[in-house]
Symmetry: C3
Subunit: 120 residues, 3 copies
């Protein structure tokens, strides 16, 4: 899910011209990351994460007692919890194709993201 | 090792109400990361990291000349070096279950963490 | 590529004594990361990343339609996009052996890094 427009909206409302914005997932089975907005690539990410941290069998993880989402915690460590982006002239200071995404690896939760801006 | 109480103590002493706190490992074979404080999950992390970046045989890594901890450097890249957490109303602005951990993958060193706060 | 001297130069010019510096890759197939400046270790990183996210066969990734660099996007997620380093007394507040590196996994692009400093 591309959350760049929402982050830009919060930034605009803040009126901050120079500083940092921190964007982080509020769930420990989810990630905020920066990459390309290309659906083939997102499919590749999902398949690759499933290979590195397979969901099943659930019995391979000790965390899967009351819950069965240990793999989602592992996937989120690879993709990262948060990104910090520079703000220059009131805009997100991106390289080419950089967009901010929210990725949820458990899939049963409400999505929550924190956007915090410091600067002037 | 859950270092959240120590970070909260430093934050309280700083008197800062709005800003960012950066918490990073001072060793390149260690991580500071945010996840769940659940011992089963921590066991899963250890086993999974050992699968992705096995310690042995030592001969598989060129770094293992004078040292034998190449795998610890790799593990730390997956788990990450640092976290940045928003400070709101003088508190760490966490989602549910978020706690800050220090993970050491070499095991032979003193633990050192840097906590740096900016804001007002 | 060790970019620590360049970051130190920008920091010195800024005159900032206490704060944060954000260093991030401007390409989504590249990373900025902190680790040891040891050539054996860097060789180990390359070999390990190729094992976790093999470049070939290109056909294993859907992203490889117009481009053939899906693996570079995956590798960059493991190594990370950016680092935030504390500034104390006008210097990068490093632990032992910490150095900042730029790693490019696609290899066909100009290197671009953003260094942004906040503080006073």
């Amino acid at each position: 899910m591309n959350i760049t427009p929402k982050v830009e909206e919060v930034l605009k409302e803040s009126g901050i011209k120079e500083g940092f914005v921190l964007v982080n997932a509020m769930h420990i089975t989810a990630s905020v990351f920066i990459n390309d907005d290309e659906s083939g690539l997102h499919h590749d990410f999902e398949k690759w994460l499933e290979k590195l941290a397979p969901e099943k069998p659930h019995s391979q993880y000790r965390h899967n007692g009351a819950e069965d989402n240990a793999d989602a915690h592992l996937k989120r460590q690879i993709m990262g919890r948060d990104v910090t982006v520079a703000i220059t002239d009131g805009k997100l200071d991106f390289g080419p194709w950089e967009q901010i995404f929210y990725g949820e690896f458990d899939g049963m939760r409400d999505k929550r993201v924190l956007v915090k801006i410091i600067g002037e």
